[in-house]
Amino acid sequence: MKFQVERDVLAEAVAWTARALPARPALPVLAGMRLQAGEDLTLSSFDYDVSAQASLPVAVEEEGDVLVSGRLLAEITRSLPPRPVEVHTDGARTILTCGSAQFSLLMLPAEDYPALPDMPPAVGTVESDVFAAAVAQVATAAGRDDTLPALTGVRIEIEADTLTLIATDRYRLAVRELRWSPAKPDLSAAVLVPGRALADTARALTAGAEVSIALALPGENGDGMIGFEGGGRRATTRLLGGEFPRYQALLPDQVNATAELPAALLSESVKRVALVAERNTPVRLSFTPGQLLLEAGTGDEAQAAETLEASYEGDDIQIAFNPQYLLDGLTVMDSDTVRISFTAPAKPAVITGKPAADQAPDYRYLLMPIRLGG
């Protein structure tokens, strides 16, 4: 095997593929990244739950198929000087040369490397940057607690030309609707995708204009799988099982008060005030006409207060939130102005951008308050 490639092109493709390298490989060969040089160079990694594959154009002098330590290759390519890279095999070693730097890597037995799962059938396409932004908006609300595996997932509902992404960790819930182009106009399905893997994949697939989504529903062929492909990259992820909460019932069906204010000012103020909020302690929001008072800290601890101008309609309300949860929602809001709707102090607040007149917001972030005192 022998090929030449630009340093940045190689480094980026290796870094992307290295995402699927298992931290604790079930088999020694799974710590490897497979390099297949044919017409193009194809890089692969796999840990049975997720797979990643990147294809990139390189100048191939001699075809070949090698397996080297993925972690080491990623670290090396990240640190190379900005010079063309040449890779070739020499007996039992793979030699990587860049400028005057040379690395000689041990080869793992490529013949033992498991075949990557076939890409399931494509079911439609979506704009890559819209998809990445939507996934980021939703994945922030996904649970991190592996004892509740279903809540670590993002639910993707497909209904004709609408994708709905939902995630919740029981304290907040994020819902995003977006348009896509289904292969079949009457497609209807719902799957649960591991949240962290989905967020990583979506963020990394913005190289191409579109992402193709491929789906194998759970059934006789196993757990089901979702695949994403675009810009020479493809990734597959095994679907999660388990019961996802019936989120529709959680969306408040009435609004008693609404506040609107600049998103950036609000997040900055929450961050400032929260400096005195120790672990698990809330920021308190008091809305009165024209004004929002933010406070944190109690009693004999440090305290902070700040007021912001805000348009507010409704009875005065006092409500408290986990500052990090509040910031998570504000940070991913795709609008300069946020709207916060309240039903009651013990009911979820709904945070959205300010939609154009008579349009429903396409992103909603529900946040349960913190109840103070006894």
Partner: protein
């Protein structure tokens, strides 16, 4: 007196120990009892003696002895159920007397504490003057007596207070530590219980002096490195541990010794429910919520296991405490071991008004809390048995076997320690 004062140079550690604390408090409130032997202990079938008056001790009654045995040894004694709230309140006053002398107070229990008085010497007087002052103030203000050991280190001070009980004061001068220690039996040393005592006896070591004159290497070989060198150091009067001031952690809890050992997980979970309820009731009435749930499991062979778990949010809800207690019990993996005692305790108390609860989407946040508060109101009006979880209603089985009887067992044996 002048001799004492001359001898106490360098003796900056005081060990203050209340004399027969629970009994003394009871007698203070009912002076007519001072003429008879008095024993405080749970009056149920398998309760143990918590405190015995000195006259009861002359009959061989000791702390931690089963009450049944104490009754046989001293049938004429007056047996009283414990009033933990009262003892905690008296203890708080006594500790306040200590803290007026020095902030360097390390409470060991409700009824004893170490004081490092080196910072108070210039202001108050020599260690003996301070010890006398504390004894006078405790007697005048609380109507009970205490004994004080004065020495240059913690464990000698502790042995000294044991030595001068009751109502005594003993100074072990720095130069006289070895003369004081060496004739004592080995059991006087911390870390010498029944088993170590037997082991030492087999080696022919009966007094502290015998230990002191045994090579440290031999002790380490017989007792293990840590324990052996620990005893060697103590035998030479060396104890480097400082007095560590701390407020005793606030906690609320309840425990139950079964009438006979229990191995049925269902019954144990039910007892945990009863104890969780009692604990939660105590929390609510004190206006606190707690962050950590601790369970105590004592096996039939007296091995005691404790397990604890800190909750994501503090609670005062019995349902939550019970759920956690059961999870801890199951995680202990006892596999139907026979239990003699189970206990539930909560620590990490904070005022409920300062506590915050992250609400959960789609859950009625207040359901259990409100239900339990409603029960509190009913029981205040109609008594403890008016309302209770269905699992705690005695059924035929219980009546036949008497394992979870009600009545006398709910007599408030949850306790609150509060320095």
């Amino acid at each position: 007196m002048s001799a004492d004062v001359a001898d106490d140079a360098g003796c900056h550690i005081l060990h203050v120990d209340m004399d027969a604390f629970y009994v003394s408090v009871e007698i203070r409130d009912r002076p007519e009892l001072s003429a008879v032997p008095v024993i405080v202990g749970a009056t149920g079938g398998r309760g143990v003696v918590l405190s015995a008056s000195y006259s009861a001790r002359t009959f061989g009654v000791r702390s931690a002895m089963p009450v049944m045995r104490a009754r046989r040894l001293c049938p004429q004694a007056v047996f009283l159920p414990p009033r933990h709230d009262l003892y905690a309140a008296v203890s708080k006053e006594v500790m306040a007397i200590f803290r007026a002398v020095t902030p360097q107070v390390e409470p060991l229990a409700l009824d004893e504490a170490f004081l490092d008085v080196s910072g108070a010497l210039r202001r108050v007087g020599t260690p003996v003057v301070i010890a006398r002052m504390i004894r006078e103030q405790v007697a005048e203000q609380q109507g009970i007596t205490c004994s004080v050991g004065v020495a240059n280190c913690k464990f000698v001070a502790k042995i000294a207070s044991v030595h001068c009980k009751p109502d005594g004061l003993l100074v072990v001068p720095s130069g006289g530590v070895l003369a004081f220690l060496h004739p004592l039996p080995v059991s006087a040393l911390w870390g010498v219980g029944e088993r170590t005592g037997q082991l030492l006896a087999r080696l022919g070591l009966r007094t502290v002096g015998d230990i002191a004159h045994t090579p440290a290497a031999s002790l380490q070989r017989e007792l293990g490195v840590a324990h052996g060198s620990h005893l060697a150091a103590l035998a030479w009067g060396r104890d480097e541990r400082a007095v560590v001031p701390h407020a005793p952690e606030k906690s609320i809890g309840a425990e139950e010794t079964f009438a006979s050992d229990v191995d049925d997980p269902g019954l144990i979970r039910r007892e945990l429910l009863r104890l969780s309820q009692r604990t939660a009731r105590g929390l609510r009435s004190s206006g606190c919520v707690a962050r950590t749930v601790v369970i105590k499991l004592r096996l039939a062979n007296f091995t005691t296991i404790t397990r604890s778990r800190t909750l994501p949010e503090p609670t005062d809800v019995a349902h939550k405490i019970h759920e956690t207690a059961c999870a801890l019990y199951e995680a202990a993996g006892l596999d139907r071991a026979r239990l003699r005692l189970v206990g539930v305790r909560v620590t990490g108390l904070v005022p409920a008004s300062a506590a915050a609860t992250q609400l959960v989407l789609g859950e009625q946040p207040t359901a259990w809390r409100e239900a339990e508060r409603a029960v509190d109101k009913i029981t205040r009006r109609f008594g403890a048995d008016a309302v209770r979880p269905a699992a705690l209603v005695p059924d035929e089985h219980d009546r036949q076997h008497g394992q979870t009887g009600s009545g006398g067992r709910d007599d408030g044996s949850w306790s609150r320690t509060d320095g």
